[in-house]
């Protein structure tokens, strides 16, 4: 198989991993022949036909796999062409693509084609050679292979900017049913090691700035949405725990792509649901809810609870919360505190901050609010300014109709 064919197979095999971030690290190569730098903020270098940003060269080292996870395109039982890169090929591809400004770095994962320590070692070898032989200072994201020992994980973190272990499914029961070769304990163990090593390294570096970094962009994970029966509450509960317990920088949600789509089957695995299309709307709502938890100071029980364990399809989670708490509105833009402003649909973190800024010198009239980027089409029902208002939050049913999303709208991958 030539390089062109390998790329075709091993890029397609990696495309269901949603992570594309190249942010959170600040590394510079130096010396003769050096190439590359990471920056705090990531860069999108292109967008594919599905509207997803291309930031990193996302590839599998190999799509041969010992495991037979029902939802995975590369499962052992799938009848697909198998391929592997050599370390040299990946080093060359990364540096050539980087120098041409196609990508910000490398995202390297792999099927588990051998003992986890060996697979982890091969991925790490690519990163090590990029850093030491090619003088590469760009971004490297390595997939941590569950089951790999602490020594192998520590070595991976030495050369990578970010490590990630995919949790894959929202419950241990689903993991046992759909990915029987995988161990939840090993997945969480790898996460715990990365979180611990990262914290220890941060401490070392605060004492001694020259201490080598350990995965300075932290860790992320991904779970498949729609392949198993958990409700949104279970998923968000898990995400909250992952953010809290493992210092996760980001939890990605990936809508399950059913058999028959994108060359995945048939035959359909009887353990999987029979979906006509990937649950993109559900994925989108989960990203929105995730944002509310991380940036808008919402508690999990405010978004989903035992009575309504799933996110609404017709309106975003913040609007759904506002509609069921109309007694909290309208909020006065002229006097409200930051937390109250954050609760207003159509008002984001940035516009809430800008309102506080602008109030230092002028009254935030609706004209001013519009200039600040507030989406008045949505916020008008929940906001007043010094007693002036555009509309009143009186009839929840009417409001819900007015604020529901256009069902025909194509949704972006990330909220």
């Amino acid at each position: 198989m030539d390089l062109q064919e390998k790329i075709e197979v091993l890029a397609a095999a990696a495309k269901y991993d949603a992570s594309c971030a190249s942010s959170g690290s600040d590394r510079q190569s130096s010396g003769e022949g050096s190439l590359g730098r990471t920056f705090g903020a990531g860069v999108c270098h292109s967008w594919t036909g599905d509207g997803r940003c291309v930031s990193l060269l996302k590839l599998l080292f190999s799509n041969s796999c010992r495991y037979d996870c029902a939802y995975c395109a590369n499962r052992r039982s799938a009848d697909i062409p198998r391929a592997s890169f050599s370390v040299e090929e990946l080093v060359r591809l990364t540096t050539e693509f980087y120098a041409r400004n196609y990508v910000e770095g490398l995202f390297l994962s792999s099927g588990v084609f051998a003992d986890p320590d060996i697979v982890m070692g091969r991925l790490t070898e690519v990163a090590r050679r990029l850093r030491t032989e090619a003088g590469f200072g760009g971004y490297i994201h390595l997939k941590a292979i569950p089951g790999a020992g602490e020594k192998a994980l520590a070595e991976a973190g030495r050369w990578a900017d970010r490590l990630s272990v995919n949790i894959e499914l929202p419950s241990r029961a689903s993991l046992e049913r759909l990915a029987p070769d995988k161990s939840g304990t090993e997945i969480l163990g790898a996460m715990a090691f990365i979180a611990g090593a990262g914290a220890e390294n941060a401490e070392d570096r605060s004492r001694l700035g020259s201490a080598p970094p350990f995965a300075p962009a932290g860790q992320s994970t991904q779970l498949v949405v729609g392949a198993s029966g958990e409700d949104d509450r279970a998923i968000l509960n898990l995400s909250s725990a992952l953010y809290r317990s493992y210092r996760m920088r980001r939890v990605y949600y990936s809508a399950f792509v059913p058999a028959g789509l994108d060359g995945r089957g048939p035959p359909r695995d009887p353990r999987l649901p029979d979906l006509a299309a990937p649950p993109l709307l559900r994925e989108h709502r989960l990203y929105q809810a995730d944002c509310l938890l991380r940036f808008y100071r919402f508690g999990l029980e405010e978004i989903v609870d035992s009575e309504t364990p799933n996110l609404a399809a017709d309106v975003d989670p913040k609007t759904a919360w506002a509609l069921s708490h109309l007694d909290r509105f309208p909020v006065d833009a002229a006097t409200a505190d930051y937390e109250s402003l954050l609760r207003v649909p159509g008002l984001g973190v940035r516009s809430a901050r800008r309102i506080l800024e602008v109030r230092r010198s002028r009254a935030p009239s609706f004209e001013v609010l519009k200039r600040l980027g507030v989406q008045l089409g949505r916020a008008r029902f929940f906001l007043e300014s010094g007693g002036a208002f555009i509309d009143r939050p009186e009839d929840p049913a009417r409001l819900r109709r007015l604020l529901s999303d256009d069902p025909g709208r194509q949704l972006p991958l990330f909220a």
């Binding site: 062109q4 790329i7 860069v43 196609y102 003088g135 230092r360 010198s361």
Partner: protein, 287 residues
């Protein structure tokens, strides 16, 4: 909102961004805001009212540390070297930086068409308040202009496509809406490390290049220079072919969303993108 009288006068300045800073100082002393402002010599190349782009060293210093300041400082260094009164210009820059407005001020100055009159009005508001004014018409126009320029810089940082020329220098070509070429210097100097590179602004006839360890330089494009670089309609070579294969292979068919692709990567940039040069944008895909 401020104490300045809105005048009917037209003012002019030369000396690039620092020249505009001097004009702000002059307006503050006069207590008036000009109705219009004319640039006499911006150094921004064809299409920006320029007469003489300079061969100027461009080193972004991070002294001001405001958001967007890295690109803004690079622009100031490239275009502000011949200010009428450097001390006055520096004073205004420092005051605007303290107010948190310098980065946006400098970025908005790269906007085409120029928005100098509203920039002067906004700068006076900021100087009076001591912080970056928001919500006024001048602030709105200035910040929108700065936002458009920042967005284009961000896009170009990702979308420029480099190819090595015969001397091992990586060269990219582009056409931009705004005069942003010098603002690209800090990013690509860091990215390429010890390797030489050049970016050619075809629309304005300017070239920004760096031969390490010397700083990046902005100069006039000379016919026939920098022959490399991804040019319009250029076909694939070995690596671009691999990139095109990669780009095709990572798209998920069942999530096809050409509208999102087009909104983030507008058609006008496609001519320089080797992965897109023969892709049909489809219905609604016009620029």
């Amino acid at each position: 909102m401020n104490a300045y009288a809105r005048g009917r006068s037209s003012r002019s300045y030369s000396g690039g961004l620092d020249g505009l800073a001097c004009l702000v100082a002059s307006c503050r002393a006069d207590g008036s805001v000009p109705a219009s402002v004319v640039r006499l010599d911006s150094g921004l190349g064809a299409g920006a009212g320029s007469t003489a782009p300079r061969d100027t060293a461009v080193q972004g210093d991070l002294f001001f540390g405001a958001p967007g300041s890295e690109a803004a400082e690079a622009a100031a260094a490239a275009y502000g070297a011949s200010a009428i009164d450097p001390l006055v210009a520096r004073g205004i820059r420092l005051e605007l930086a303290r107010a948190g407005a310098w980065g946006d001020f400098a970025l908005a100055w790269l906007h085409e068409p120029a928005v100098d009159a509203v920039l002067v009005a906004w700068a006076l508001e900021c100087l009076e308040l001591g912080f970056a004014a928001r919500g006024s018409p001048a602030a709105d126009a200035s910040l929108r202009a700065a936002g458009r320029v920042a967005k284009e810089i961000e896009r170009l940082i990702g979308l420029l496509r480099f190819r090595p020329d015969g001397e091992g220098r990586y060269v990219a070509r582009f056409r931009s809406d705004h005069a942003v070429v010098a603002a690209l210097a800090p990013r690509f100097s860091a990215r390429f490390g010890s390797r030489p590179w050049a970016v050619v602004d075809e629309g304005r006839g300017l070239v920004l290049s760096r031969d390490p360890p010397a700083p990046a330089r902005l100069g006039l494009l000379i016919e026939g220079a920098f022959p490399g670089g991804a040019a319009a309609g250029e076909g694939p070579d070995g690596w671009t072919d691999l990139w095109r294969t990669y780009h095709r292979s990572v798209a998920i068919e069942s999530r096809a969303n050409p509208r999102a692709q087009l909104s983030r990567m507008p058609r006008r940039y496609w001519q320089f993108l080797c992965e897109m040069y023969d892709v049909d944008p489809g219905p609604g895909g016009s620029p």
